[in-house]
């Protein structure tokens, strides 16, 4: 399948890939997806005073899920929880021009964001 340069760049050079060390304070974590059946994504947000100050993700590596997670985190850093919630899957799909067959990646990442903010 053909992927645009924006998606490929986010996939190949993710800045937010990884995990916070166990003792990092103010970190909330959530995971979405079913291992073996769908992609799985894990988001970790460090939230201080209602503001997202740092973020990390891990995911089973399909191109669009990595790109969606990377793109989302890049856009919600230094944002409040309310502002972060405005980054919906529709926005990710439109901004990255995700192929129709891959919109599940954005839905998965959005689902995970909702979960992690609910955990806060």
């Amino acid at each position: 399948m053909f992927y645009n340069e924006k998606i490929l760049k986010l996939f190949r050079e993710p800045h937010y890939a990884g995990e916070f060390s166990a003792n990092t304070p103010h970190v909330v974590t959530a995971q979405s997806g079913n291992p073996g059946q769908t992609d799985v994504v894990q988001l970790q947000l460090q939230i201080i005073n209602n503001k997202i100050v740092a973020a990390k993700f891990k995911c089973s590596g399909s191109i669009c899920t990595v790109a969606s997670a990377e793109y989302l985190l890049g856009n919600i850093i230094n944002k409040t929880i309310i502002e972060a919630l405005s980054y919906t899957s529709q926005r990710i799909i439109a901004d990255l021009q995700l192929p129709e067959q891959r919109i599940n990646s954005a839905l998965l990442v959005e689902d995970c964001l909702q979960k992690v903010l609910k955990n806060e």
Partner: protein, 382 residues
């Protein structure tokens, strides 16, 4: 960029391209081989017949047993529909395998809609056919067995000699799609009981758009043609013969025949290296029978890795995945599924295929890149 997708297609050998170019322009052999009234046509016809002889030589056949087609897909169509329609009074049952190329599977599915009965045999987990199951599937209505020589995804070979014997004992025609084996493995029509062989050009350093079908003369195999209009190719396949394409196929197969052993020895060495190195990457497995396979194809899976993601992570390498994307979803390879490989494992499968121009230095670079990117992608896993 390192090309490791020779099973998809090959570049035209420069020596082949040179001979093809000599058939195109006014100063070359551009004539219509069917023009029997002048020198231009005679020269073109002579080149076509030389190519026919070159193809026949490679498989130890009579040149009159070679029919030119647009490629292996058309050859498969002509063989299967041609037999089905000509011999439908004798029977309406065809046997094939679930691991066949879509050129065979879709043709059989089409015939199924026309009222034919198709038996799709599953392979064993290693991709090979169970010969006892083949024998058991034959009925008094069976007219054709169509089993490919080499699987395009896994490289697994089928035992043409044994299948041919079973077909002969039961008075059933035997067709094989040899797109991945022609010029790479020895095929001798004098010792094999195979009645029809589909030949592709573009997998063996000849151009796309040309192929051939071998049709046995003794005992005579008859086909109902697919294309009418001019009676070319003894009435089996009408249409002006593309001299340059045919010359390309003939000369490429002549080169392949000359270098068959040396080339296979080189490719085996490359494949052994690739297997040895890739198997040191944790949780790596190889699909298919590794003792019965062509030396240029390796189907390998890295647990937990999305094959498409691996390909996108290695933009300097060209290889293919074990799954195909359709409009609705990711569809795991029908070949790997038929072998009992899980969807998850199939989606982790990549095919690396090497060829005449692959070097050890390229493979060393490929292994290094794949090793690094598999580790990177695994680091991303939750």
């Amino acid at each position: 960029m390192i090309y490791l997708d020779y099973a998809a297609t090959t570049p035209v050998d420069p020596a082949v391209a040179e001979q093809m170019a000599a058939c195109l322009t006014l100063d070359g052999t551009f004539g219509n081989p069917a023009s029997t009234t002048h020198e231009f046509g005679w020269q073109a016809a002579k080149l076509v017949e030389t190519a026919r002889q070159q193809i026949a030589d490679l498989i130890n056949a009579d040149p009159r047993e070679i029919i030119f087609t647009s490629g292996a897909t058309e050859a498969d169509n002509l063989a299967i529909k041609g037999i089905a329609n000509f011999y439908k009074d004798r029977g309406d049952h065809i046997i094939t395998m679930r691991t066949e190329h879509h050129a065979v599977l879709d043709t059989c599915a089409f015939l199924e809609k026309q009222g034919f009965t198709i038996t799709y045999l599953n392979p064993q987990p290693d991709g090979r056919l169970n010969l006892a199951e083949l024998t058991a599937a034959i009925t008094d209505k069976t007219i054709l067995i169509s089993i490919m020589h080499v699987n395009n995804e896994t490289g697994v070979t089928q035992d043409l000699a044994a299948i041919g014997q079973i077909a002969k004992q039961h008075n059933v025609f035997f067709h094989t799609d040899a797109a991945q084996s022609i010029g790479k493995l020895v095929i001798d029509t004098q010792t094999l009981s195979v009645d029809l062989i589909s030949i592709s050009a573009h997998k063996i350093y000849a151009p796309k758009g040309i192929g051939a079908l071998y049709v046995r003369r003794k005992p005579k195999v008859r086909l109902q043609p697919l294309i009418h209009g001019g009676g070319h190719e003894q009435g089996s396949r009408s249409g002006t013969l593309p001299t340059h394409q045919i010359v390309g196929l003939g000369s490429a197969l002549a080169i392949a025949q000359q270098n068959l052993i040396a080339e296979q020895t080189k490719l085996k060495k490359l494949r052994d290296y690739l297997m040895r190195e890739l198997s040191t990457i944790p949780q790596t497995a190889f699909n298919g029978n590794q003792d019965h396979c062509v030396p240029n194809i390796l189907s390998v899976r890295f647990a937990g890795i999305d094959a498409e993601a691996l390909m996108a992570s290695c933009p300097e390498l060209a290889f293919s995945a074990g799954s195909a994307c359709t409009s609705a979803s990711i569809v795991p390879s029908h070949v790997l599924q038929a072998m009992g490989i899980s969807n998850e494992a199939a989606n982790s499968t990549v095919r690396l295929s090497m060829g005449r121009f692959t070097t050890m230095a390229e493979l060393e670079m490929a292994v290094k890149t794949i090793r690094k990117q598999v580790a990177r992608l695994r680091d991303l896993l939750p």
